[in-house]
């Protein structure tokens, strides 16, 4: 394979590497930083990368099957990159004020490179490397606001829980290596048998590892605290990019490596899915802090997504990726509103949103659309995302799970409407004053609202995703 092919194939990773090196050099050689210029440059280069990612179809594998690339993987990387771009834009106002703006970008790009490797991995070794690369800088990011105790606490919780889950995952991987003699996805899938108790045992460990990353009940306990303590930009990254990438590789591993044990993991997943959405819902109802609230709502969403993962057909995989895309728009939209308000006056309680429509109608409408999309109410895209997940569940005949899921959706509507009620109905004597939103955050809101309103109706998006998906 020629050098050009390598470059073409690993363009995302090389790009992230290039940015990291560039930022390091800037840090070393420049005395006084022009942060807005650097941030602008990063945003611009992310746009260029997104555009470049549509050129050519560099499918195949390198490093002896360690690193794979195909249409689905590129799509997932595009979604990750796009979400990162949105998060950079969203955080622009906040980042400019930070002393350590450069370090933030550095760490975020290290996470990004880890995610790229994670998504592309074709071997458990690469998979583990990617996972760790994506996690440890993220914990540093969670601690980014040194001054706040909460931030440090969040980072501590995150690093401990992820170390714990990594240990379990590693143990599972070592068992896989011990019983099959390989770590390569394809080779493992050939040798793996569902009759061997030890091998099925490894499945449980791998599941636990993933469950931590996707924050599936009962491995969700870190989520709310970390979401609440981290800066909003990091929280959005955690809830959108990190979760999306982990879900994607989770599907890949299940469908590519463990198709033989499908009967076993379907049962586990149905159970986990039912518990996750119910517990997430019950906890979300009682939250007063909006970031904690969104944390539990994202746990519930993970429960819905598991329906699609369980169904294991090309259509269901397409629905999961489609849902992740829609979820990206809606969640980033919600977090952008949260960050705009929190940056100006530090208000993060749902009670502070009372009467928001009187002073900031556009922010309220953006928040309402985001929340409706999360609740799956037409005409927002969330409706389509959720119905497709349920329909894929119906095609697989998971009727009981569907009943639980649709009842949960009614329950979830109650707390999503609480936010809408606070903004539109409740009276407040001193509401959040009128905020003049900065241009980049406005751009994010416009992009997200357009996504929320349009993606559902344009069947082209779903068709495109479906053409790249695979199942068992």
């Amino acid at each position: 394979m020629s050098l050009l092919n390598y470059i073409s194939m690993m363009r995302f990773e090389l790009f992230a590497l290039g940015v990291i090196i560039f930022l390091l050099l800037v840090k070393i050689f420049s005395e006084k930083l022009n942060t807005s210029f650097i941030l602008g440059l990063i945003n611009f280069s992310l746009v260029v990368l997104l555009a470049a990612s549509f050129i050519g179809h560099p499918h195949g594998s390198v490093f002896g099957g360690m690193f794979l690339n195909d249409g689905t993987i590129i799509l997932e990387k595009q979604i990750i990159t796009f979400a990162t771009l949105l998060i950079f834009l969203q955080a622009n106002f906040w980042l400019k004020k930070q002393e350590n703006c450069l370090e933030f970008c550095l760490l975020l790009f290290s996470v990004l490179i880890g995610m790229y490797f994670l998504v592309s991995s074709g071997n458990f070794l690469m998979f583990y490397l990617g996972l760790e690369m994506a996690t440890i800088p993220l914990a540093a990011l969670a601690a980014f606001e040194f001054g706040r105790m909460r931030s440090a606490e969040a980072a501590g919780k995150m690093i401990l829980s992820s170390a714990f889950s990594s240990a379990i995952l590693l143990f599972g991987l070592s068992l896989i290596y011990g019983t099959t003699g390989s770590l390569d996805f394809n080779e493992v899938s050939l040798v793996f048998s569902s009759s061997s108790a030890l091998q099925l045992f490894t499945l449980a460990f791998v599941f636990v590892g993933f469950a931590f990353k996707i924050s599936i009940v009962p491995f969700h306990l870190w989520t709310a605290d970390v979401y609440e303590g981290s800066p909003v930009a990091v929280t959005s990254f955690l809830s959108v990019v990190s979760k999306g990438a982990s879900l994607f590789i989770f599907m890949t591993v299940l469908y590519r490596v463990f198709p033989i044990a499908q009967e076993t993991w379907v049962h586990i997943l149905v159970l986990l899915s039912a518990i996750t959405m119910t517990i997430g819902n019950l906890f979300a109802m009682r939250q007063t802090n909006i970031k904690r609230f969104l944390a539990f709502s994202s746990i519930t969403q993970a429960g819905y997504i598991l329906i699609g993962v369980t169904s294991a057909s090309a259509l269901s995989m397409a629905s999961v990726i489609y849902f992740i895309l829609i979820y990206t728009f809606s969640n980033i939209c919600a977090f952008t509103v949260v960050s705009i308000i929190a940056n100006r006056n530090g208000k993060e309680d749902i009670g502070d949103y009372k009467g928001l429509y009187k002073t900031n109608p556009l922010l309220s409408i953006a928040m309402m659309l985001a929340v409706f999309s999360l609740a799956g109410i037409p005409p927002t895209a969330g409706f389509f995302g959720k119905l497709f997940l349920l329909t894929s569940g119906a095609s697989a005949g998971l009727i009981v799970l569907l009943i639980i899921a649709s009842l949960n959706m009614v329950v979830s509507l109650y707390y999503y409407l609480r936010i809408v009620k606070a903004m539109f109905v409740d009276k407040n004597e001193n509401p959040v004053e009128k905020i003049s939103t900065d241009v980049s955050a406005k751009a994010v809101l416009v992009i997200c609202i357009a996504g929320i309103l349009v993606i559902g109706f344009i069947s082209f998006v779903f068709e495109y995703i479906h053409s790249l998906s695979f199942g068992i």
Partner: protein
């Protein structure tokens, strides 16, 4: 005739409302709703003409576009006699609702936006023939109600709004489960589809029907206040602002009835037969219970809200009796009750705006101060108790005649129980008219109250005209419905 206009016009109206400022929104909404009414009447004539030329296919003006072809989801629309009746009802009530809220002071732009959004959902629901598309519009017509009630409502509005939305969404989640079940079993049968006609032709096995029918029927039934899932209706109706009450009782409850009839019964005819006795019992309880509770109400808006529960019971009763006449009666009752209740809520809203009370016993002698409003109130009341000449009589009579055609003790006694409610209706209607309109003027301040303004008069006249048209010459509409009933429910009719 291109049916997509029924969705396009409200959409354009919505965009128009977004673009204009403040109170101009009402003009846009009014023009949009008038256009829609004109289109509905045009559709009626086009339909009649097409039928006149001998076109006997069950659905006319069909249109299919693939939407999500991987799931076999199509944008499939078409109309038959029943949906045309519903479309006419929706457009009449919409015009009435916009006119009644003409003087809306508080955030008029948002108010009209949500009202037209609800109407978009209703129109889409009535014309779609694909379960997915239909469900999309169905849910579209639920959630805006939350904002309408909790922002512009009165009384314990937040509680009522939340209760209403959660109960309706609970119903819609049952509908969703049954739709997904239908999809799954159609896939097992080899035809993966959401298409209503194809699914009806498929014919599900007995067990599947017995499993899915109750979910779908109860799910839609929640919307049409099927006992014991009616509790959202009194709270919701009485707390909602006038136009929203009109819409809620006039159209939303009919979404439920239409779904029970046009979706659940068409898909699961066998199960419908087996479950019919239970449904009849529930309907009878609802009719009688609703009427008796109404007698206890002093709040006239609450009175009409409970009487809606009773009247919608007739719809369910007619559907479950499963004779041709009874089903035609049920559809007529949907239309008649829709217009009547919209008129009632409109006039109650007018009285409340002037007297600032909804308690019947605090009013009195209002007919002297506001003759127009008083007369409209009386007309609405008389329609509600089924006086010949008004639509209520035609509809209820058809239901009773149809119900009595089933010759066995159970059905006959159920019919008799249901008719007993008419006496109770007379009690509460006549009493409400008596204490609020006749007699001496109890409150001196009421002597100076103004009568209806032009917009209120126009709204009332449009609604009364529809009531009288159906009441005096019902055959054009009942024939249209009867023909559709014959073709659609050949498997069900006894």
């Amino acid at each position: 005739m291109n049916l997509s206009f029924f969705i396009l016009i409200p959409l354009l109206t919505l965009i128009g409302i977004m673009l204009v400022n403040g109170k101009t929104a009402r003009v846009v909404a009014f023009v949009g709703s008038l256009l829609q009414l004109g289109l509905a009447i045009f559709l009626l004539f086009a339909y009649m003409q097409e039928r006149g030329t001998g076109n006997v296919s069950s659905v006319l003006f069909e249109e299919t576009h693939p939407w999500f072809s991987q799931w076999n989801i199509n944008y499939h629309i078409g109309v038959d006699g029943i949906s045309i009746a519903m479309i006419l009802l929706t457009s009449v009530v919409l015009v009435g609702g916009v006119l009644v809220s003409w003087k809306m002071e508080y955030q008029p732009k948002e108010f009209f936006f949500l009202l037209v959004l609800l109407a978009t959902g209703a129109f889409g629901f009535f014309i779609s023939l694909d379960l997915f598309t239909q469900f999309f519009f169905f849910e579209l017509a639920v959630v805006p109600k939350y904002l309408l009630i909790s922002v512009w409502g009165s009384g314990k509005k937040e509680y009522a709004a939340m209760k209403l939305v959660l109960m309706l969404m609970g119903g819609s989640s049952l509908v969703l489960i049954s739709i997904l079940g239908v999809y799954y079993y159609s896939a097992v049968g080899g035809v993966v589809t959401f298409d209503l006609q194809k699914l009806a032709a498929l014919g599900f096995s007995h067990e599947i029907q017995m499993f899915l029918f109750p979910m779908m029927f109860v799910g839609f039934g929640v919307l049409s206040a099927l006992f014991p899932f009616h509790t959202w209706a009194p709270d919701g109706h009485s707390s909602a602002p006038t136009a929203a009450s009109m819409f809620l009782a006039g159209i939303s409850m009919k979404l439920g009835g239409y779904g029970c009839l046009r979706v659940a019964m068409v898909l699961f005819p066998e199960a419908a037969h087996e479950y019919a006795p239970y449904i009849i019992i529930l309907a009878c309880i609802g009719i009688l219970y609703g009427a008796l509770v109404t007698v206890k109400q002093h709040d006239i808006k609450m009175m009409n809200a409970y009487s809606s529960v009773s009247h919608c019971g007739f719809v369910i009763l007619g559907i479950a009796m499963m004779t041709k006449t009874a089903i035609v009666g049920a559809v007529l009752q949907m239309v008649s009750h829709g217009v009547m209740t919209a008129l009632f809520f409109a006039v109650i809203g007018m009285m409340y705006e002037r007297t600032h009370t909804r308690m019947g016993d605090q009013m009195g002698g209002l007919l002297k101060v506001m003759p127009f409003i008083g007369t409209v109130f009386i007309i609405a009341g008389l329609t509600s108790l089924g006086l010949p000449g008004f639509s209520g009589f035609v509809a209820e009579m058809t239901v009773f005649v149809g119900a009595f055609q089933v010759q066995d003790l159970f059905h006959r006694s159920a019919t008799i129980v249901a008719t007993m409610s008419l006496v109770v209706t007379a009690v509460y209607i006549l009493r409400a008219v008596g204490i609020s309109l006749w007699g001496p003027i109890k409150n001196k301040e009421f002597e100076l109250l103004p009568d209806a303004t032009w917009n209120e008069k126009l709204a009332a006249i449009i609604l009364i005209a529809s009531i009288i048209i159906i009441g005096t010459m019902p055959f054009w509409i009942s024939d249209m419905i009867a023909k559709t009933t014959e073709t659609l429910f050949s498997a069900v009719i006894k």
